[in-house]
Amino acid sequence: MIYLDYAATTPLDPRVRDAMLPWLDAETHFGNPASDHAMGRSARAAVEQARTEVAALLGCGPDEIVWTSGATESNNLAIKGALEFRGLQGAHLVTSRIEHKAVLDTCRYLETQGLRVTYLTPQADGLIAAEQVLAALRPETAMVSLMWVNNETGAINPVAALASQLRERGVLFHVDAVQAAGKLAIDLAQTPIDLLSVSGHKLYGPKGIGALFVRKRPRARLAPQIHGGGHEQGMRSGTLATQQIVGCGMAFRLAGEAMADEAHRLLALRERLWTALQVLPRIYRNSPAEAGVPGILNVSFDGAEGESLRAMLPALMVSSGSACSSATREPSYVLRALGRDDELAGSSLRLSMGRFTTSAQVDAAAAQVVEAVTRLRAWSPLWDAAA
């Protein structure tokens, strides 16, 4: 089996697992981090150490990190929390059609509560331009929520440039950075984003843990979405899962240490894959060569329907590149924006590479894809090789 679905989830790094294990099996490491005794304090110290590690990768203060159960909760807390605090009635939010379903479904829900939402459609390059966002602002716009890196193509939205423009206009800016953290440099000290969501399991950390950056100065105010004992400065109650948090901290630390080398290596692997696939005629690259994260290559294969193609690749774990937005059930806006028709958008694969991907795996995967596409085309009565 070759795993090329790192954008969906990543294997736990063995070093992360080793960091977690003492908090799962040692006799003295199981205290509740909220407890006022020695075992509680040692668990609390581990939680705070992990907080500094996440903060370091993002360039923010540790007291600006709120632990959550994952990016879905982070996105919910950011958008619902900020708008509920401010008051939903008459408020307006700008987001895009290419957001993760956690953002889109939250926006759809808030529309039933009185929020007005503008859903931007990507430009011809598959991206949301800063000018589009600025043009959509209204006097009553309370928030912009935009993903930093698109999960389908790896394309990078101009988030950093947009941040200062939104700050000048007094509009709260939430960024879903799930696909960006650890892949490109994020410096929240220099980038005036107010709220930023990250996840552990996209970065070789455990599932079921994430974080929300909540800016202190100027302070982003949130209404809590999970009430209770007042953990996490009152923004998110619930017993902290020490082992999960320690794993997340280690994952972010390793990502920071490896980022430059990994980016270089994955870029080379991505281009190696693209080169190998190009023996096939009429294939189309959906991932940008420049403004894209290194690990993701999305390709459309004319005459090879996506689901059939995946069925012919049983030893290859990849995603179909035509991911629908669950909120709309429409074909990918990203691929359509790139000029792919519905059929071509449905004939694509997202190959995403990561820390444990080797060049031998890339070569083998390319050979399997080339063979499968060639066979599908040979069987298809519609495929005209001469066209």
Partner: protein
Amino acid sequence: MPVYFDNNATTRLDPRVLEAMLPYLSGPYGNASSLHRFGRAARDAVERAREQLAMLAGCQSREIIWTSGGTESDNLALKGVTEGALPTRVLYGATEHPAVLETAEALRARGWGVETVAIGRDGLIDGPRFERQLAAGPVRLVSLMRVNNETGVIQDVARAVDPVHAAGGWLHVDAVQALGKIPLDFTALRADLMSVSSHKIYGPKGIGALIVRADVELAPLHHGGVQERGLRGGTENVASIVGFGAAAELALQELDARAAHTQSLREQLESGLRSLPGVQIFADGAPKAPNTVQFAVAGYHGEALLMQLDRKGFAVSSGSACSSGKGEPSHVLLGMGIAYEVADGAVRVSFGKDNSAAEVEQFLAALAAITQAAMPAMQP
């Protein structure tokens, strides 16, 4: 090695649970994305854990929604049942956990009438008074805990089912402290929603469940994704779910043995405490979970006693870990009508399956030493 008497705050992961989790923390198995081969293996493991928990909780596996823990379960229950409904009343017991209390109070801002159900000095609901309260007007939801986290008092929630249903309300039972300590049967109880948590039964932290009958109208707390029948979005935390399932299976097998063991420790401790001067045991004589004793020593501040015990290597608590460090006496004891000065002295001992009679002896000796050593200073 410290003596750990704070098992109502959290428990040590059972090594057998860790064994069950390890395959999902290494190799390719953790990938939950449902379409590939390993995704299907993860899916099967999640469904097996659901069956394991269903056996312990006495519910159908399809009634289980995984959450990040007891607090989220309580929030999902209270907010999920009130969301979109015409605001009427929500009632909760005066001694509920902050996860229920704070959530219920937050519903006021959404137009709900929020009332507490009075609790007596024995920690129990005054039945006739409760029924009069129910009859006073329409009710959407009543939330009552099965076992109190501080006093250990077992509430006879079964008696509340018919009156609550007759008033047109749903009954939510916070069973976080009951699971694994006393037998639970969600189906026979006929409650509508029930919260449980893994880390109180020697499972991992960060995973819990809300058990919901199929006919309950529930709105999600987190939007996004189709996981858990659309009621709880987010990538499944496979390793922790597997751990919760394994912990549930062990808790069911060992329920009687654990109850008998902790009950004998509790009796040993209570008998020792009664021989010390000035000790008051809270909710003494009420039906209680086998493992929990909450008491106060006259003239002692609970937090101060806790710190001295901590220095001697004993981990106990003054109340809920969730309200630690706030310097306020327990709302549970105040809710039972205990005087402020007395409640301020509360110390909670909660035993677990790994505690021993020798540890109880050490604890009683340490407590006697602390209180006797301090005597002269208090009597100049």
